[in-house]
Symmetry: C4
Subunit: 260 residues, 4 copies
């Protein structure tokens, strides 16, 4: 019986991947990463190939609609492509709670991707908070493991060196560990205005990412989410007009959502 | 001398159990689990067979009435039955404090039950918070490790797929670990209205559980608790009538009691 | 070079003790334990024989009057007695901060006392909070590892079974571990009224303890502290008379001082 | 692939240092240590020779101006000197977050300095908070590992035994571990009035330190910072004059900055 004192990754044996890239989309600012990951998984009917459990995740199980239960986890999904690099998508319910847990989980995931899946490039997806009013077409900010990768992505309208401060959590740590392990990667961050859910920011990243990877993708589902979010926002503004102190919509989102 | 850096389980050697089931009733919402466990132990004069100590429990000892002291623990009790499956009841003073501790303690308990007691089915008992006024006959909600087990229990009026969100703590984690270890289990949650102590919710689960296991049980003691709780509640309402801001009775119970 | 990832105990080699008893007086309620320990060390000019360092103690060093510095620690001191059991006194700057740290430090200390010093009886000293006004002659409450030890101490006016709830921290944990390791012990708690410093409670325990161990002790120093505390209290009461909301003197002491 | 579960130090192989001294300047009170370290590194164009990563540091990466990213770290820099002791400067983005992390990181750094760099004297630099108005020429307070070192530094106007209470974090712990490992060291603390950034306090320490080590240093850059800070302070006072409740300038600096 395995131990639950450390992070463990259970995976399908005998996988043969074609030089895979990893796309990491976990809960975080505007939930941008998770929205992108879930859209890719849905549209490409990606198959789950591995599951990450960790004592550093919240000590919770989900009550499922069918009456079963499911432990908090991160999950790897595979999109097989003919004659092209395979795509592995990582998403999940939560990020690790403590700093120590963040280091352990992120490092084990990078190690697993490099050593077991033989991958060599990691995309991490996140949101980049900008204050002020909602932007019509969100920009995509980037940070990468090397100047070579920056040069490569700058062609695609990713803005490097324009976003400042820090990347908190897995989206940053995994790239730092990638660099340590001599593999390359880029963090793509959709410009986000503090929503708990920012599908517009997610779509901006999704389009750049799929163009880059030569994938055609139907965005109908995400477009519907964008409309719904915009509508909710307008209603909220209407309700609040005349109020002296207008809370920023979704301002509770200021608490980084990677801690759920 | 053993170490106190990890969770340890001390147990009676030479136990021979007949295909035991485990009933887990620890402190939690409405204290439902603990009330059920303690009632079973009292009524069947169950014998203590194992004790769990952990550095993840609160760093406290209890001052006992006889002047002795007792370290915070979880404890296994045995109800031997002729010609039927034996019943092992787990209860205790507290759940682990940290997420990491919750994973370690719950996993070691499941492992102990499977490997040392040769058990193969786990019941975890909890409360399920519903807001609003007190219910006359609390429902029992359920979540299980497999569809087969759900089908089996749905016959007994356990409501599957009707409760949502998450199960926090041991009642959920132990079933997740049971599933990982290929044993079955169900979480039975009594509908509870935020009391620190909800003996009515506990009785609802107790009745379903004992019927299921073919046990006859005297509920006199629990009925007395229900009456007492109802009386306390009425007095509280009387005192508070006329007050603008009425605190929900036992609203401090909103803080999950598993963290004491 | 040793590691600082775990609690370590550095001790004088070649010690030959005569069946020693351990008296534990660490920071805690009313600082009772520490006051007793420091009084014994001062009056008997006890020699330091061991030092406990732990990553679970606060990450601090003390600036000493002579310009040197000293890491937070717990310290063992020896009182050699001719023809009688030797006495080892443990005191220190702080208790461990986390529950896990409390378990580790307390367990290592008991193990060290049993295995390296060959001791077989532990006294832990603490305060027992009682609300209300200051008591003229504080009682001494006790909890012990066995009925035999209770019977032995009840003769000496220690009140067993009269104090309830829990003992938080080292004074309780060390006795729980003593019991696990088949050695005996008693926790003596001076009745205390929420002072940060309660020398009156400390004196009550000190007198019982020294009588028990057949030691003559000069309490002049402690008597001076009692007078000084009483004087401070009276001045405080004078200043506060007429104030609507009188803070309990030393009410910040409600925060258990073992976490500094 | 190395593990990220413990603190690791990556260093340049084949270094041959001449009896080096270590100067530790990490984030802390008034940021005094970090200002001193960064000034030394800038003025002497010191070369980075080692990097410390730790799961006890914040789980963050920095977005760099060139679009790359950098994991939170502490870093060793070398100042080679002809015919004199070499100087190693340690600075970084943060100190460890938890007490356990502080012990682990500080201990590993001292061990690395002694065993890998063969060093035998450590300077740690910090700020010493004094309340009240800004001082014209900040004093330098000191604490050392031995009376011999105190005597040696007291000649240079370092004030020993005048500062009290505790040194929290790496500046204190590293000297405690130096003492345990039989190497010497001194903590030099610039008198600081609660600024987040106190370049005047830093300059006071810098001058004493460079005089002591026989280094000539250009303080133009630091002088500019002192002027700028003084100007900001005056503007702040002007804005606040007439206000009933004047917040202490930089009073948020009361939160020790080593926890960022």
């Amino acid at each position: 019986m395995m131990s639950m004192e450390k992070t463990i990754i259970k995976y399908k044996k005998g996988l043969k991947l074609n030089d895979p890239v990893l796309i990491v989309g976990l809960p975080g600012i505007g939930n941008v990463g998770k929205l992108v990951a879930e859209h890719l998984i849905r549209e490409f009917k990606a198959e789950r190939i591995a599951t990450v459990y960790s004592p550093h995740f919240p000590h919770e199980v989900f009550m499922m609609k069918n009456g079963c239960l499911r432990l908090v986890s991160n999950r790897f999904y595979l999109i097989k492509r003919k004659g092209k690099q395979d795509i592995v998508v990582l998403t999940g319910d939560a990020q690790a709670i403590s700093p120590e847990g963040q280091y352990e989980v992120s490092h084990k995931i990078v190690k697993f991707f490099k050593e077991k899946l033989n991958g060599s490039f990691i995309y991490t997806i996140g949101g980049y908070n900008v204050s002020g009013s909602v932007v019509a077409s969100p920009k995509v900010f980037g940070n990468a493991t090397s100047k070579k990768t920056i040069a490569d992505f700058a062609k695609d309208d990713v803005l490097f060196g324009k976003a400042h401060t820090v990347i908190i959590g897995a989206a940053g740590l995994m790239l730092a560990f990638a660099k340590m392990e001599k593999i390359e990667g880029v963090c793509l961050m959709g410009e986000s205005t503090f929503f708990d859910m920012d599908p517009a920011a997610a779509k901006a990243v999704l389009q750049m990412l799929t163009k880059r990877l030569g994938m055609k993708i139907d965005t109908t589902h995400m477009d519907a989410m964008i409309k719904k979010t915009a509508k909710t926002l307008k209603e909220l503004e209407k309700q609040l007009s005349g109020t002296a102190q207008i809370p920023a919509p979704g301002s509770e989102g200021l608490k980084p959502s990677y801690i759920r």
